[in-house]
Symmetry: C2
Subunit: 123 residues, 2 copies
Amino acid sequence: MSVNHLEFDEDGLIPAIIQDIETNEVLMMAYMNQESLENTIKSGRTCFWSRSRDELWWKGETSGNIQEVEEIKYDCDGDTLLLKVKQTGGACHTGHKSCFYRGIERDYDTEKEFDPEEVYNNL
Amino acid sequence: MSVNHLEFDEDGLIPAIIQDIETNEVLMMAYMNQESLENTIKSGRTCFWSRSRDELWWKGETSGNIQEVEEIKYDCDGDTLLLKVKQTGGACHTGHKSCFYRGIERDYDTEKEFDPEEVYNNL
């Protein structure tokens, strides 16, 4: 296995973006250390490092919502991974397919054309 | 603008995955701080925080390869962003469309069925 080009951070971790191979939807992002990456490569299923529990985290071990790995890429400076997977069930612990189920609304800062209170209350 | 749900790390940064809105290809990942995120929301173009140069980084400022933001999502625990963009040119400084242009080959650890040197050299 060739992981020579990878840069793990000062905690020994590398972020891993998980993408659905069928729909190309981005499902989640989690972190891997050397051991979880090796587990992932050898088993063909995603294994992460849980920063909150401080332990190896075999994705789907409890929920059954495993991810079968079809492809592992790394970026130009080798400090981020991109894995394409076949997702069983949903990736998110909330039950959603993707962890990215909420969006930021843009504030366009447009001025109002009139003051509705003034217009409608004075009728 | 609603960024109340976001968790910036101890360096004040949040990872931002950039995805092409037309092809759904993951183009790159970079980091934003509060200011660069606000710049991004207000301008509709991506602005990151360069960890290597320690400064605001308007994507495409030098190369012209800007990213027009169509959608900003955040994940279930609010510590990762996903931006869908219209990418002008390529996202990667190497000239590639995506920074993820290299892959890790899986080592299937299969035993050889025969030793080719022995077989072919003894003919």
